[in-house]
């Protein structure tokens, strides 16, 4: 089985699991009393955020490894992870405001968590623009690696921003030192969705990596 076929199979599995998440979240998970149906956005928004941060974290890690070893495969992986991360960031940044409007009364607020997340999205876009703007592969990989490491540094600040600053955004309810503060049915759906988004990330990155020469070239 080629890498491309493997990537496609994992992606297909991820999409089937996503259908399962939709069915479970919509029909088999209780409606939250104060927020109503909008709370169900949580089962997409939080896992999309997880995949986005995972993608940028691995872009940075691969970038460090590329700078240390000069192995082209790390650069290729970083490029793949950045593109896939951008797709997940789009999900995160569209589902977030759709949840915020009915619950907070506003689509957007310029607090630390949201602003840093938007900045991360711009970093993803900038990373790809940079790759597209440099023709020479070695220079492109080196410059992109530096930007990728900047992106990785941002990840823990985004996660901790809800503790460091006053913000409308709720604090983590699963990825925190104490036990998850969520009823069992909701927690099961959320963990299922986290697993699904991780499978999707692996499948999409594998496909994108196998496709390889996806970087635009000048001239």
């Amino acid at each position: 089985m080629t890498l491309k076929t493997r990537g496609r199979s994992i992606t297909l599995l991820g999409l089937l699991l996503l259908a399962g998440v939709y069915v479970r979240a919509i029909w088999f998970t209780p409606v939250e009393r104060t927020q109503g149906g909008a709370q169900k956005i949580f089962y997409l928004h939080a896992p999309a955020a997880w995949s986005t941060l995972l993608a940028m974290g691995l872009v940075g890690l691969a970038s460090i490894l590329y700078l240390m070893m000069k192995d082209e495969r790390f650069d290729r992986f970083a490029a793949a992870s950045a593109e896939v991360g951008t797709a997940f960031a789009c999900v995160m940044l569209t589902t977030g405001p759709l949840w915020g409007k009915p619950v907070w009364g506003t689509w957007w607020t310029w607090d630390a968590r949201l602003t840093l997340t938007l900045f991360l999205f711009f970093l993803f876009i900038g990373y790809q623009l940079l790759r597209g703007a440099i023709a020479e592969p070695g220079t492109r990989a080196r410059y992109a690696a530096v930007l990728g490491i900047f992106g990785m540094v941002l990840v823990p600040f985004i996660h901790l921003s809800v503790y460091l600053f006053r913000t409308l955004h709720p604090q983590p309810i699963v990825l925190k030192p104490s036990a998850p503060s969520l009823p069992g049915d909701m927690l099961a759906t959320l963990l299922f969705s986290f697993l699904t988004f991780t499978v999707l990330y692996i499948g999409l990155v594998t496909q994108r990596y196998a496709t390889g020469a996806g970087d635009a070239h000048v001239g």
């Binding site: 491309k4 927020q35 149906g37 909008a38 709370q39 999900v91 589902t95 619950v103």
Partner: protein, 39 residues
């Protein structure tokens, strides 16, 4: 409020679920097409 006391905010959830599906399925399909064209 609905009869059970929950606010009628399901429309936002429907919009979010549709948009997320469009992005994720669309991007998967785009990669599939790109992979089919690549050698």
């Amino acid at each position: 409020m609905w009869a059970d006391g929950t606010p009628p905010t399901g429309g936002y959830a429907i919009a979010a679920y549709v948009i997320a599906a469009v992005i994720l399925i669309g991007y998967s399909f785009m990669l599939y097409r790109r992979g089919s064209k690549a050698p």
